[in-house]
């Protein structure tokens, strides 16, 4: 038990993993996760990128040994969640999408009580709680009620709480959704520090910049399936040109007809036209040569958003 039998350093392995939700009292069953394969190695930061409803959170709950697997195989820390749920959960840290802090307890009590669920001795938890409050920058809030915390503070407390058992793997479901930019950057910095300390991170996000900042490797999910996987750089290089030219027009239809031949590929969005080209400035010059006058023109490096658009024809955040 607990051996990484799937190969050296493989902490999570999913083969043909499926999750089917059958509504109670009849109704059509929906396949939230439709057969996915992935492996997560020790020390890695592994991301699930995709829009809402892609099956990311469902996958996370199965890995967390909270939601039963409907099909395929899943090994977490070399164990089967079906038979070794408590043993797996003992070595995981879990940060759910909505903060589920115990609002009846103070900030410090949240850590002290949570540690007891793992059967840790009180003295050890007390010491650990002090370190974690420091890590989460909540030392001066230690004796406040959870209600008194801002959204960013709550999220940091949830992360601190998930670290109380010194987990091998930290699961983060949409860790920065709903936070303001400053709070997001502080959180990223904390997560980066954890990664440097050797904690394996598994996270879901629908933010490109988050995936690019934090993930060593990621899979792109859509409709319960994996549509691409690799490193952030590799995915961009493999599915996109180096740069993107974003154009806005008064009459997009008319303009699009005249510049159809430009760039490697084009993508029409309701409010703008994207021209994929290795050299965006060159493409812009070519646009001007056709006599078309865009309202605005922006050249930028392509990112994971573009990868997703290329793969699915849709944007990530509607």
């Amino acid at each position: 038990m607990g051996d990484e039998s799937a190969g050296a350093g493989v902490l999570i392995e999913a083969v043909g993993l499926r999750k089917v939700h059958t509504p109670r009292g009849g109704g059509e069953a929906t396949e939230a996760v439709a057969g996915i394969d992935f492996r997560v190695h020790r020390g890695e930061a592994f991301g699930f990128l995709g829009p809402n409803g892609a099956g990311k959170s469902t996958t996370m709950r199965m890995v967390a040994a909270v939601s039963p697997v409907s099909g395929g195989t899943l090994r977490v820390l070399g164990m089967d969640p079906k038979t070794h749920g408590p043993a797996i959960r003992a070595r995981l840290g879990s940060v759910p999408q909505d903060d589920t802090l115990d609002t009846e307890l103070t900030v410090r009590e949240n850590l002290l009580v949570y540690g007891r669920y793992f059967g840790l001795p009180r003295a050890e938890i007390r010491e650990r709680a002090t370190q974690l409050l420091d890590f989460a920058r909540l030392v001066d809030k230690a004796d406040e009620q959870v209600e008194a915390l801002s959204g960013g503070m709550r999220r940091r407390l949830t992360i601190a709480r998930s670290l109380v058992n010194r987990p091998d793997i930290l699961l983060l479901d949409e860790p920065t959704t709903g936070l303001d930019p400053q709070a997001r950057h502080l959180l990223w910095e904390r997560l980066f520090r954890l990664k440097q300390e050797g904690v394996t991170l598994l996270l879901t996000t629908h933010y490109m910049d988050e995936a690019e900042q934090l993930c060593d490797r990621l899979v792109v999910m859509d409709h319960g399936r994996i549509v691409a996987q690799g490193t952030p750089r590799g995915l961009i290089a493999g599915h996109c040109t180096r740069e993107v030219l974003e154009l806005r027009f008064d009459d997009q239809e008319a303009a699009a007809g005249k510049i159809r031949h430009l760039g490697d590929r084009q993508e029409k969005l309701p409010d703008r036209l994207l021209v994929y080209a290795d050299d965006g400035e060159d493409a812009l010059k070519a646009v001007h040569r056709t006599g078309v006058e865009p309202l605005t023109a922006l050249v930028r490096r392509s990112g994971l958003e573009d990868v997703f658009l290329t793969l699915t024809g849709r944007t990530l955040v509607d």
Binding site: V66, S67, A87, P96, T100, E109, V113, Y114, Y117
Partner: protein
Amino acid sequence: MLRALWRSPAVAGPAALVERNLVIYRHTWYLLLAEVFEPVLYLLSMGVGIGALVGHVPGLGGGDPSVGYVDFVAPALLATAAMNGAMNETTFNIYGKLKMLHTYDSILATPLRIRDVALGEVAWALLRGTAVTVVFGAAVAAFGLLHSPWAVLILPGSLLIAFAFAAAGLAVVTYIRSWQDFQLVQLVMLPMFLFATTFYPLGVYARPVQIAVECLPLYQSIELVREPSLGVMNAGVGLAALYLLVFGALSMALALHRLERTLVP
């Protein structure tokens, strides 16, 4: 050996949950006094007030004339206090934790399982129910209303009552869809409180009604503590204990089954 048992997951899991509730209760312990206050008010108004009119209840305490109406009512109020203390905890409080606070979502991400949560909550409710009974029981004893050494059986008796109703409450709460549904619970609990021989003996009913009342869990709970406190020990007490044990165990099984459906995503 005891230490090893205490540390085994089967005990440590529920114990961790009890500990959580204790940490919260440190801030709100005075609520316990409020719960004792209610039966004390009933004891004063019904027992002392109406007792002055009623005088003696015929056929009580083996015809002992020192046993008055208040002695008859006090044990019933004690059983009711144990019932309410336990059931309030597993209905109102757990509903809040299930539906509003989502307390269990984060707990079930730890090694704890649903049965640890269920057992822990029932154990806690049992502790609370018992605490209410002990404080109220002390008040009853101080009034000089306990007539027999058998009255020591009140303590294990109220533990059993608290267990049965804590488990029943846990089963009930899984069916509750909104705060309005608690009215339906009251619709059962209030008549049971009024008619389960709390304020008068079973003998006032016609036989078919007697049988219906005898099936009520509160009637059996009252039997369990009233008889010993009046010094009457008979088979009925053992039967009441057995009834509550079975009632509690069945409720617990139903509660576990229902919680698995509610809490597993």
